[in-house]
């Protein structure tokens, strides 16, 4: 296949070369994705077969192989829903369903719409992400400029990354509910906490990344600490910042979803996962999972785009 593609694009025009490069990059990914989807259909057939056979047995009907396969693809509560079922559910709940509905004269969120649930999860995620990132950057600045803070806080910041912090999420929610806080704030607190440490640790690394030569140069200019910070340390730390932002935003999203789990939240992707698992609505679980994946992918690639644009303007792109 790749040989044919190479020959087809051998004309030499720049556009053809660009297209050929694109195909060479995309084709393997498409093949792998295709294989995954094929495997998925195969697994769905195998895993849903017992239920089909059982139902046919009780009805006293003999099914042909084609009928069995057709039935496994379209069960209402399959063990493993097929991709087209998940996509159909995503379409029905995210696109076809209105996000807002009118109730007692006012517009409120429509709990049947997956976009509404995604918003309920994304809002605390983003709020917590922004707060956690700013706090992490501030802590990193403090650590770099203050030796006492460096020695006291840094070992704990590193050690805290080895602890399954996520397990605390439900408690924070319960405690804050007892104090009277509910809704956006408790969830965003958890996502702030989860995005805080990756940003802090990697910003410390970034702010320390200028080498001795650069620092010496600024000293010969008799630059003050704040001038060194703004003109050398901060620009040097930008690549580190973006790398950690991608980790942090993914962690923040996971944090919000987990925070919604054991506390009986009614709205949000985590709540969709939990109600789906209580009532055996596998298609609902998978569609919520896909929505979460889409959110994560959009957030990470948004940061990636900002990263590329910023580094390009700074002349740092690799």
């Amino acid at each position: 296949m790749s040989v044919a593609l190479d020959q087809a694009g051998a004309g030499g025009c720049p556009l053809c070369a660009a297209i050929r490069r694109l195909i060479r990059a995309v084709a393997p990914v498409l093949v792998v994705v295709g294989v995954i989807i094929a495997l998925w259909y195969g697994a769905a057939t195998q895993m849903n077969k017992p239920w089909t056979l059982d139902a046919a047995n009780r009805a006293g009907v003999e099914l042909s192989t084609a009928q069995i396969i057709a039935d496994t693809m379209n069960q209402e509560r399959p063990v493993l829903p097929t991709p087209h079922q998940v996509l159909a559910e995503l379409w029905d709940t995210a696109v076809a369903e209105p996000v807002l509905r009118e109730r007692r004269g006012s517009l409120t969120g429509n709990p049947r719409s997956l976009v509404f649930h995604a918003y309920q999860t994304l809002a605390p995620t983003l709020l917590g992400f922004v707060v956690g990132t700013l706090a992490g950057i501030l802590l990193a600045i403090g650590i770099v400029h203050n030796r006492a803070m460096d020695l006291s806080v840094m070992p704990w910041a590193i050690a805290s990354q080895t602890i399954p912090i996520l397990a605390i999420a439900p408690i924070v929610i319960v405690v804050l509910n007892a104090v009277g806080l509910s809704g956006l704030v408790p969830k965003s607190l958890i996502s702030a906490y989860l995005s805080f440490f990756p940003v802090a640790v990697s910003m410390v690394k970034g702010l320390r990344s200028p080498n001795g030569m650069d620092l010496d140069l600024l000293r010969t200019y008799s630059a003050s600490a704040s001038e060194t910070f703004w003109k050398l340390r901060l620009p040097a730390s930008v690549p580190f910042l973006f790398t950690s932002l991608k980790v942090a935003v993914a962690a923040a999203l996971v944090g919000t979803i987990v925070a919604e789990l054991p506390t009986g939240a009614r709205f949000g992707l985590g709540a969709r996962l939990l109600t789906g698992s209580y009532y055996g609505q596998t298609i609902q679980i998978w569609s919520a999972l896909f929505m979460a994946a889409i959110c994560a992918a959009v957030l990470v690639s948004l940061i990636g785009m900002i990263e590329r644009a910023t580094l390009k303007r700074m002349g740092l792109n690799r």
């Binding site: 393997p28 020695l151 006291s152 399954p164 397990a167 408690i171 999972l289 994560a296």
Partner: protein
Amino acid sequence: MSAGLAQSARRSWVVPAIGAGLIALAALSEPRLAIVLALWIGAWGLNIVLSRGTETAAIRLAVPVIFGLTLLAIWEVTVRLYEISPIILPAPSQIAQAFAANTDILWADFQQTILKGALSGYVMGCGLAFLTALAVDKSNFLQRGLLPVGNFIAALPIVGTAPILVMWFGFGWESKAAVVVAMVFFPMLVNTVSGLKATDAMQRDLMHTYAANYGQSLVKLRLMNALPFIFNGLKICTTLALIGAIVAEFFGSPTVGMGFRIKIEVGRLAMDMVWAEITVAALAGSGFYGLMALIEKRMTFWHPSQRGR
């Protein structure tokens, strides 16, 4: 430099003065706050003085320990002085009591969640990822196809598969191990593959001039060079494994396990027990990570990142 030192010497009385002023101010309006503030400022001052001197191993150990103990002390004092309900936040001493009184339960939970769920899933997931990485490394096509997909999946909230896997594998430790496998697979895969690519052309050419075959150059050169990356993946995965095992138990478990206990005790508002369980999770997490870091140190003693210390 010397100007800076002189300046800091001249200003050295300012900070304690501000601290004392703050404490006095607080003492006038709210004596309880003054005690907490005094504790904090005193310990912080001690740390500042300690970190001014030459950095020895003792100071590097003492300063963070003092900081941690201060936080614990402030927690304890605040809870007691302000009479915070143990339903909201138990004091460290209460948590320690709950820990000591329930060691048998905690040990059973530890066995169920960490040893059975997390560890078996960790070994399976990392092993599987390692073997897949060898296959990916051998095929250029898989590298271009599977790696972008793997990078993409590594950023997804894989914890969300927990309800599905619990449905498939039942409430026992098997479903927790399955969640852990799903969580650790892709980070480990991506790290190992990038590690296997870490040799430079000169080294590979050298192996080529020795007429080394694929297996020899893999074992003697490329795996050795990949070790820092592999251990990085293994260390990231320790935390992921614990998170996966605990969170999966929120969706269904036998009547033992850390996630189960947290969920139940939160419902009964027995927060001291919840915090004791979190202490176990924290100890297990840092112990597991520390073990991996120790093995890394033993196996990659030759690497620049280890020699510097």
